[in-house]
């Protein structure tokens, strides 16, 4: 049976259909979950998609993290099941405390939409299990606030515990340690700024998103 991926929709989300299209094209079942309901149904994995939940007003993720759906996502994550935050989803996961650190405005103070090269640092996570360490993946970024920052201790922990999943080859936004994506200690909650769902169709220039989303779907299977 195919795993079912639930994609949370907040008012202001805008990449939910894209996430749905990408995981469906890779063989998963998928459905949208409304932020106002704490019922996640019987999904096997959760994606928090990109966009501007609640307008990103005040701070990205500041309002979204209080929604009923997020309370359930937190419980879902604590039970060890896979949760993926893409872009705004990553921001929401840090605000919700499921991932450490914070995402600040890009160093150049400009929104940036372009393909970047990512290096896989570890295959030990629900997002990278089907990749090879050292792989270079071309995946688009699309954000204003993607400049990852955290305390020195956190950075050390991330390093020591092998929790940095993806780094930028040519840091576009000022992220500390060139970090593009990380996971939690249990390795089932992952967040990244680049958009793997935008790199899943040959007409769109890259299919390097496949191994990442494949990993996630496979992790949702059990």
């Amino acid at each position: 049976m195919n795993p079912t991926i639930g994609v949370i929709v907040f008012p202001g989300s805008n990449c939910e259909q894209d996430a749905l299209e990408a995981v469906t094209s890779l063989g998963a079942d998928s459905k949208l979950l409304w932020h106002d309901s704490s019922d996640l149904g019987d999904v096997d994995g959760v994606i928090i998609p990109g966009g501007f939940a609640h307008g990103d007003y005040l701070r990205p993720g500041a309002i979204a993290r209080f929604s009923p759906a997020m309370e359930s996502v937190i419980a879902f994550a604590r039970s060890g099941r896979p949760v993926l935050g893409i872009c705004n989803g990553f921001q929401i996961l840090t605000e919700a405390g499921l991932l450490p650190g914070a995402l600040q405005k890009n160093r150049g103070l400009k929104f940036l939409c372009k393909p970047v090269k990512l290096n896989v640092q570890t295959t030990n996570s629900v997002l990278t299990s089907q990749t090879t360490k050292g792989d270079s993946l071309t995946i688009p970024i699309n954000h204003f606030e993607g400049n990852y920052t955290c305390s020195d201790e956190t950075l050390k922990e991330l390093h020591d515990e092998d929790r940095i999943l993806l780094t930028y080859e040519d840091n576009p936004n000022g992220s500390i340690g060139d970090i593009a994506g990380i996971c939690n200690i249990e390795r089932n909650v992952v967040g990244l700024m680049p958009h793997p769902e935008r790199a899943c169709h040959p007409l769109l220039g890259s299919t390097d998103g496949h191994p990442l989303l494949h990993s996630f779907i496979e992790s949702s299977r059990s």
Binding site: L58, R59, A62, T94, E95, P100, G101, A102, Q104, K105, N106, R107, G108, L109, N147, T149, C150, S151, G174
Partner: protein, 84 residues
């Protein structure tokens, strides 16, 4: 009682401030000299109705911690002005 509150949200010391540096770098080019250590934050003004000043302050403090700031990177300075 109604109070006027201003919450100034600032980046913690040590956290890089790209907005501040941009302003700092631009000023000499525009002919303004002697401007340094620029830090950009948010100022959030609102009115709050509470029993007394202490309660108001407490509520705001909690609001700051839970919502208005991200404690990983931000501090808040709270100003409260008596009922009017």
């Amino acid at each position: 009682m109604e109070f006027e509150a201003t919450v100034e949200v600032q980046l913690k010391e040590g956290i890089a401030d790209p907005q501040g540096s941009t302003i700092e770098n631009a000023t000499p080019k525009l002919g303004f000299n002697g401007i340094e250590n620029v830090r950009v934050g948010k100022s959030i003004r609102f009115t709050i109705t509470a029993e007394d000043e202490a309660t108001a302050k407490e509520t705001i403090q909690e609001l700051c911690e839970k919502f208005l700031t991200n404690p990983v990177i931000e501090n808040a300075i709270i100003h409260l002005q008596g009922a009017e």
